[in-house]
């Protein structure tokens, strides 16, 4: 029985359990629902959950444990020196899996019978040809060891599947029986079901956290790998970035950090005032009609994919800046420049800041505005002296979020600022950022274990730490300056 069928069978048992539990609860009080502790449906759900959840738990554990057990058993068939070398062992096991899968396919296609597959020997039959006949291509002829192991693998898998089916179904039925036996009028089925609901909520919230932990862990382990091959001081303090895929590269991270910060700074210089002024206009000055039109129009910008912005930077902003600013004033003649990318990222971030700040300004209570107007303050005095200070923590939070976005932006930088890592103050020079280099280093066609590739992870974790620091700082600011309105 395959896993899918097993899951369906368990669900059927649970479904039957639902109706059994419900009707048992009802018959216990001769149909008088008011004598039950919970609504009848809760008794049904309780039985269904008790049947399904433990069974799925057993299934899950089984699916994880079985391959480990089988792998360990196969190890006893392989030569000792293969088992001792982790890489060779991994390769051998992969081979065995491939052959076993091929035999499965052959049986399924009718090229072999179940019995002949189990008795096949490498001397008697050309296994490679047979498997090639059913579409499984092997890199080399199958050795006797591998074939024997594969056959053993198949038989153990089959036994395991049978045992798995029995165990899962037994647990499902046992759960069903237990739940039915406790189903009585005074049984608190509702509370039990709600505990399960709480468990679902907790699981949902832990998945995000666990993913973050997983990301950090994988980045950290690969970064450590990198720092074993490349000195950390040269990475963090090196002033040259020139990866060379034949080895002997300079992987100094300072030029990338500088590019990242320079571009983000320009982006924020563009985005913060424009976004903030937009928000103030929309929240305090615009009439309802203007607001109904302008706000969605601005937010359209947020919906444009960044790669489209990148095109805009590449074909419009870049050449414009080069022809009208960089060349006439002698700043160089590069189409791709920090200024181009910064401007375009800034524009991209305007709706982000304006939308958040608009919501924050709107949440400042009307009573504060009334209080200020009542003292004879003008609208602009009220905005400057009362509303913005009251909204400041939220606005700082919005700005720092936008900064995180600007730092993490990749596409626009690739197309707008180029890919050459340079340490320069000239805003019309081509530079590049950490994100661009992460993509560049990982997508090359090189050995994964070389420092040139692994540096991507070191860059990634550094970027992660920078944005994390920004976010923590944002939280700190928001906490420190938070004002209770009422």
């Amino acid at each position: 029985m395959t896993v899918l069928v097993l899951v369906v069978a368990t669900l059927v048992i649970a479904g039957v359990g639902f109706f059994l539990g419900r009707s048992r609860a009802l018959s216990g009080v001769s149909g008088n629902v008011r004598d039950l502790h919970s609504l009848p449906g809760y008794y049904g759900w309780h039985v269904a959950l008790m049947a399904a959840l433990p069974a799925f738990g057993v299934l899950l554990v089984w699916l994880i444990v079985q391959p480990i057990v089988i792998e360990r058993n196969i190890g006893s068939l392989l030569p000792a020196e293969t088992v001792a070398d982790a890489t060779a062992f991994k390769l051998a096991v992969a081979d065995i899996r491939r052959v076993a899968g091929g035999l499965d396919a052959a049986v399924l296609a009718g090229a072999l019978t179940e019995a002949s597959a189990a008795e096949l020997t490498s001397g008697g039959t050309d296994v490679r040809a047979v498997l090639a006949g059913v579409g499984v291509a092997l890199g080399s002829d199958v050795t006797n060891d591998t074939l024997l192991s594969a056959q053993m693998y198949r038989s153990m898998t089959a036994t395991g599947a049978l045992a798995r089916m029995i165990a899962v179904l037994a647990v499902a039925l046992a759960g069903l029986g237990y739940a039915l036996s406790v189903t009585r009028a005074e049984f608190r089925a509702r509370n039990r079901v709600e505990i399960v609901m709480m468990g679902v909520l907790i699981t949902a919230s832990s998945i995000a956290i666990l993913t973050t932990v997983g990301i950090i862990w994988s980045m950290l382990s690969e970064s450590l790998n990198f720092f074993r091959q490349y000195p950390a001081t040269e990475f963090f303090f090196g002033l040259t970035w020139s990866p060379n895929f034949r080895g002997g590269s300079d992987l100094g991270f300072i030029p990338l950090l500088w590019g990242t910060l320079y571009i983000s700074l320009i982006a924020m210089i563009v985005a913060v005032p424009l976004g903030l002024f937009t928000a103030i206009y929309l929240a305090e000055y615009a009439g309802p009609k203007v607001r109904a039109w302008v706000k969605p129009l601005i937010e359209v910008i947020a919906g444009i994919p960044t790669v489209v912005f990148g095109l805009f930077a590449l074909v419009t902003v870049g050449p414009f800046l080069r022809d009208y600013f960089a060349q006439p004033f002698g700043f160089g003649n590069s189409g791709a420049s920090v200024m181009t990318a910064g401007l375009v990222i800034g524009i991209l971030n305007i709706p982000f800041i304006s939308s958040l700040a608009d919501d924050i300004i709107n949440s400042v209570p009307q009573s504060l505005r009334d209080g200020s107007y009542g003292l004879g303050a003008t609208k602009s005095e009220t905005v400057k002296q009362v509303i913005l200070p009251a909204a400041l923590p939220g606005i700082v939070g919005a700005v720092l979020l936008a900064a995180s976005r600007a730092i993490g932006e990749t596409m626009i930088v690739t197309m707008g600022a180029g890919a050459s890592a340079k340490l320069s103050l000239n805003p019309f020079d081509a530079m590049t950022t950490m994100t661009v280099k992460i993509v560049g280093q990982l997508t090359g066609d090189t050995d994964f274990n070389s420092p040139e590739t692994l540096v991507a992870f070191a860059l990634g974790i550094t970027l992660f730490v920078i944005t994390l620091g920004l976010n923590v700082f944002a939280l700190y600011i928001v906490r420190k300056y938070r004002e209770e309105y009422e």
Partner: protein
């Protein structure tokens, strides 16, 4: 209870108000919110140096009228005001009058305490700063102190002037708002149910304060509590369904109302 005279908790003093001049004169004031005719043909003279109470059931138009007196209704886009309101003989709805200047002269205290999210000092200094009433820091300090003293708050906050105003208790916040309002040295002080969010002790403090403010400002107070109107005011106006039903000496309104509706309201039969 047979008549209004027997409301024992109302202590009515002798009031000498006849020698005060009219500060605000309202004639034929109508207010519309969209198509809703909220205030109908109101004529009132608010006297200088007097506490005037507006009483009446909810939705009767008393707050609406109060907000006409410093043009706070301008901030409500659907509101339309017709008629004539004169402050010292000048029409406040004249085109030449800047509502911002007007509100500096006619201050307002709101129903719920609404201190700004600033320090206690900056809350009081707000008005003097934006109107440029003081020349230097020392003068500003003086204004802040004297306003906090007038609002009977100085002793409680003098050691923590830089603490946020929002951290005070409800009664203290309301007195802070009163101090803030009188710091712009207005001529008229409008109070929209200033005690409705306060406990009895804080209410008593604010009422005492209102009585003291009378010597420098005309005070107009909207209140739901008839006892409060009787305690603090010299003149009382009774509003009902958008009409000004009766306006007169507080003692006369509470002991000898001319209109049967006034009598019904103050004895608790309508409202």
């Amino acid at each position: 209870m047979e008549g209004p005279i027997q409301m024992k908790d109302i202590h009515i003093e002798e009031r000498v108000v006849s020698d005060h001049k009219a500060k605000i004169t309202a004639r034929g004031v109508q207010v519309y919110y969209g198509t809703n005719h909220a205030l109908k043909d109101v004529d009132v003279d608010i006297l200088a140096g007097t506490v005037t109470a507006f009483i009446g059931p909810s939705g009767c138009g008393k707050s609406t009228f109060l907000r006409c007196l410093n043009r706070m209704n301008d901030t409500v886009s659907s509101a339309r005001v017709v008629g004539e309101i004169l402050l010292d003989g000048e029409d406040i709805y004249d085109k030449r009058v800047d509502p911002v200047q007007l509100r500096a002269k006619v201050g307002m205290v709101f129903q719920k305490p609404n201190p700004f999210p600033k320090s206690i000092y900056d809350n009081v200094a707000y008005g003097p700063k934006i109107h440029g009433l003081t020349r230097n820091k020392a003068e500003l300090d003086e204004v802040v102190e004297s306003c906090l003293r007038k609002a009977a708050l100085w002793n409680e906050v003098k050691d923590r002037l830089q603490a946020p105003g929002t951290g005070l208790s409800g009664g203290q916040q309301q007195r802070l708002c009163i101090a803030r309002a009188i710091a712009t040295s207005p001529e008229v002080l409008l109070m929209d149910e200033p005690c409705s969010a306060l406990d009895p002790i804080a209410t008593a403090q604010v009422e005492e304060l209102i009585d003291e403010l009378r010597s420098q400002f005309s005070v107009v107070i909207v209140t739901h509590s008839m006892q409060q109107a009787a305690r603090v005011s010299q003149k009382t106006a009774f509003f009902h369904l958008g009409n000004l039903v009766e306006y007169g000496e507080t003692g006369q309104i509470f002991t000898n109302p001319k209109d049967p509706r006034t009598e019904s309201y103050i004895t608790g039969r309508i409202g």
